[in-house]
Assembly symmetry: C2
Homo-oligomer: 424 residues x 2
């Protein structure tokens, strides 16, 4: 299968074609109810039971089915600067809450560095009592923990600031993933360097995190707000980090905008004030309508989106459809998700799957009887702080239209009488 | 990277070599604490910051770092019958509880069939009111749910029935994985076919599950014990099932031995008694010491194993080491895990990570100060039913030595004064 070709194909049209192929492909896809009499006869032998299957150890590291070759990361646009790009998770084709590592979104500013794990070092210095360099083996010898958390780029869904973009959910909301991360708590590492040095304490200290990539990605983080939750991680979904997700080491700051979760992490320096790096002045700061800047807006506010049905899917017959999607909040857990199928006039509670994890994707589900008429389907998340996902109008009233970041408004998909689902 | 070569290399020796390379590789791996003075000077620029990194869209479906090329599934032995084999999850190299799809263990009896999802059908018939065929699209239009559950082959750890095998944990316990599964509840599907037909009800009915592979894998399952929990799933860790894990459809019976989670699922027939298929007579039944057979022993009993340190790892210096491993039970949640470092004379409680999921892997962790002497490290799980993982002697007393299945005894690793860890 030629991944390059599928990635370079026009994403929305390919997504739509594929999903049409899946959901409305004529002879095979129509719902087929055999008669009871047919089924009580012995079933025919499956064609795949008549021939030996393929061996597995050709794939000691497994790969997806060739029939899923178009479920890949895609970019919403061509990137003008070499080495700076992002690629987005195919949310419309995914189920549950865990993002497989091969489909985890990524954003990079200077390409993906090639770092030998035996040569990598993490320096912890600045206002700490005993600055130290850590090898990867040193880090593996420290107490660790695993937690499931979402990651979202602060630019995610920026396409919708000026109204519906027409894009499918992979390209509107796909800078979003959720993995189980394993690593060492920041607080454990600070204990390893003897703790903070005067005059710095957790209440007034900041932390500079620096990546070993060609962009030397650097962010300043307020210690008090991250100390108990931040992890320095080496594994995602069980295995070591993928190269584009920070191999061999990255920071995870649960709930904070993606870029602060510095990848290829080589340095943590305790400082007494934010360092006003490029990534917190010229980028990742929002210009408000009144001309002032909203800087260090770390937490990703509560948000949700319907992933199925979503643009590219097509309803093929009147009747029952499950509505499902994802909700998350950088400030805690998801308390509830409401769904509307009439453009927001009426709302009802969605079911939430299983155990609700802190600062993790939560899968919601609702039942819908489609009567064949035009409809507009929406979801609205409320988090454990009581914050309610705003409408676009409310968000624009508060933030204006000068920024591309932190767009978390309610997202509407239109269902046409043809069954087509559109971002309009 | 040549996966085939790494898979065909002798697994234990390669595992050991790799881990020695990681943990005791001379110039790089020794713990290195720079002086404070060095670290307060500006850090040198990372070599990887001096050159542009690689693009990502060459890998729209991502792959692991080349430095992790030997973290792959392996088989403990050569399989004499073409098309029948298994491959095992590299537990010693994994972290957390989620198994990435590429490393999820698999067992197949007739190779991996090639099934086009648009042509696949699931038949539900037998003692049901309205037998039906379901397409994949039909299934995607039904209410679904996602849950995290372990899967374990009933033959897992069979290598240890006669005492320590010398094998590393991948080859003793690696027929074990844990994923987030998404699909339709069995009870929902039975509603879709009008419910059970008289004289069958949930209390006396059995369910025949049949695979579309060349082995036509078939198992009989007691309806009452699986009705509320079993799922017919199409996705694992977010994406569609991998081919070797049942693409496009499989049964998940949480807590039941792996082979009952029938892959490439094509048929569910409600019957009035178990059908005594090949897989429940000549295989997957245990001969006890008194000559009687233990048949339909579905639930995997509570079990745990230390994955780090484990054979192949080597301790390089006296001092602190974290002990970590996995615990699970087919009968509910893990209530506690105890760890011993003196061969079982003394036990202490391990910490359990985060949220404990029902019938899922649970990560445990304990602190250990290694004094450089010989040691024997063990873990013991207790589940929510109160069942305590037995010693090997207790297990053999109850079951004898005639069976290769359902070995769940406490596993001991010896730590030599050299730091080598052995299964002895």
């Amino acid at each position: 299968m030629d991944m390059r070709n599928s990635a370079m194909d026009s994403p929305p049209s390919r997504t739509r074609r594929r999903l049409l192929g899946r959901l409305a492909a004529g002879s095979f896809a129509a719902s087929q109810a055999a008669t009871a009499a047919d089924l009580l006869k012995p079933l025919e032998i499956a064609p795949s039971s008549r021939v030996p299957g393929a061996p597995v150890l050709d794939h000691p590291y497994g790969v997806p089915s060739p029939y899923e070759a178009d479920v890949v990361r895609r970019s919403a646009r061509a990137w003008p600067v070499p080495g700076a790009a992002s690629s987005m998770t195919p949310l419309a084709d995914l189920h549950g809450t865990i993002t497989p590592n091969g489909l985890t979104y990524e954003r990079h500013h200077g390409g993906v560095p090639d770092i030998h794990p035996d040569r990598h070092r993490l320096a912890i210095h600045g206002f700490v009592r005993t600055p130290k360099l850590f090898t990867m083996d040193d880090l593996l010898r420290l107490p660790s923990e695993s937690r499931i958390h979402f990651l979202e780029c602060s630019g995610n869904t920026g396409s919708e600031w000026n109204g519906p973009s027409g894009l499918p959910v992979q390209l509107t909301h796909g800078l979003l993933s959720c993995c189980e991360w394993t690593g060492v708590r920041l607080s454990t590492l600070l204990d390893e360097v003897g703790g903070l040095a005067k005059p710095i304490d957790a209440a007034n200290g900041w932390l500079l995190a620096e990546g070993a990539d060609a962009a030397v990605m650097t962010r300043s983080l307020p210690l008090e707000r991250i100390l108990e939750r931040a992890l320095v991680v080496y594994a995602q979904n069980g295995e070591r980090l993928r190269p584009e997700n920070g191999y061999p080491l990255r920071l995870i700051v649960p709930g904070f905008e993606g870029n602060t979760n510095v990848k290829w992490l080589r340095r943590l320096k305790v400082v007494d004030a934010p360092l006003q790096t490029r990534e917190e002045t010229s980028k990742y700061t929002s210009l408000l309508a009144n001309g002032t800047a909203r800087q260090f807006a770390f937490e990703m506010d509560a948000k949700s989106v319907i992933t199925r049905p979503s643009p590219g899917h097509r309803l093929t017959a009147h009747g029952y459809y499950p509505i499902t999607g994802l909700a998350w909040s950088g400030r805690g857990t998801i308390r509830k998700v409401e769904v509307s199928t009439d453009g927001g006039a009426n709302w009802r509670l969605a079911r939430l799957d299983g155990v609700i994890h802190d600062r993790a994707l939560t899968r919601f589900r609702a039942d819908w009887q489609w009567d064949g008429g035009a409809a507009a389907i929406l979801s609205r998340a409320t988090d454990s702080s009581g914050y309610v996902q705003p409408t676009r109008a409310e968000l624009v009233a508060a933030r204006g239209l000068n920024s591309q970041y932190h767009y978390n408004a309610i997202q509407q998909w239109r269902v046409e009488t043809s069954g087509e689902v559109r971002n309009a």
